[in-house]
């Protein structure tokens, strides 16, 4: 059953990557990276279960932390770069 979960996770990660490549706007790409990161967390947890290694869950937790911080960081960058270009909104 866990191998089916791993295969489904890999399929969804490939879908997220294809959305990241196809995505017209920047926000599609950031969304796809966010989904990819969350799925990696799940993949690490499930693989940790598959191979009987309970210490993988710490890695999954740290990865979830880093994924969140990176998405917020990238968004913070894009929000202010728009201001520099337009420069007219209050």
């Amino acid at each position: 059953m866990l191998t089916v979960v791993v295969i489904a996770l890999l399929v969804v990660m490939v879908m997220a990557l294809s959305r990241a490549l196809l995505g017209p706007t920047i926000y599609d790409r950031i969304l796809a990276v966010n989904v990819f990161g969350t799925k990696t967390v799940l993949l690490i947890a499930v693989v940790g279960f598959l191979f009987g290694r309970p210490d993988f869950l710490d890695i999954a937790l740290v990865y979830a932390l880093i994924n969140f911080i990176s998405v917020i960081g990238v968004l913070r960058y894009f929000e202010y770069s728009n201001d520099r270009h337009q420069g007219d909104n209050p």
């Binding site: 059953m1 866990l2 089916v4 979960v5 489904a8 996770l9 399929v11 969804v12 879908m15 997220a16 294809s18 959305r19 196809l22 706007t25 920047i26 926000y27 599609d28 950031i30 969304l31 796809a32 966010n34 989904v35 969350t38 799925k39 967390v41 799940l42 947890a45 499930v46 279960f49 309970p54 869950l57 710490d58 999954a60 937790l61 979830a64 932390l65 969140f68 998405v71 917020i72 968004l75 894009f78 929000e79 728009n82």
Partner: protein, 106 residues
């Protein structure tokens, strides 16, 4: 007997988690616009992730492993709405927002 029951419920949780995962992934690809894709991604990130982690918790049984899985679940449930809110806010700020006075029905 109880172990069999737990196994069955965890397989059920993992099954529905997989279904939601794949349907959210397909929605991520096929939806026309950023905000509807965000909705599809939200489905996979919150519900499918919590179902899969719940299934793993049932497999693991009482102990430190279940506690770590609970931490991961709580963290994902707290941060993914925040991340999608920040993403939607910066998308609206970046000019992708829906025009408020153009209502859908007319």
């Amino acid at each position: 007997m109880i172990a069999l029951l737990l196994e069955g419920v965890s397989v059920l949780c993992l099954g529905t988690g997989i279904f939601l995962l794949v349907s959210g992934g397909v929605g991520l690809l096929r939806f026309p616009e950023v905000f509807s894709r965000m909705h599809a991604a939200g489905v996979t990130e919150t519900l499918a992730a919590s179902l899969i982690l719940l299934g793993l918790m049932l497999l693991a049984g009482w102990g430190i492993v279940m506690f770590k899985l609970l931490l991961i679940l709580l963290f994902i449930l707290i941060t993914s709405p925040t991340a999608s809110h920040a993403l939607a806010k910066s998308a609206v700020h970046g000019g992708l927002g829906v025009d408020p006075d153009r209502n859908e029905t007319s």
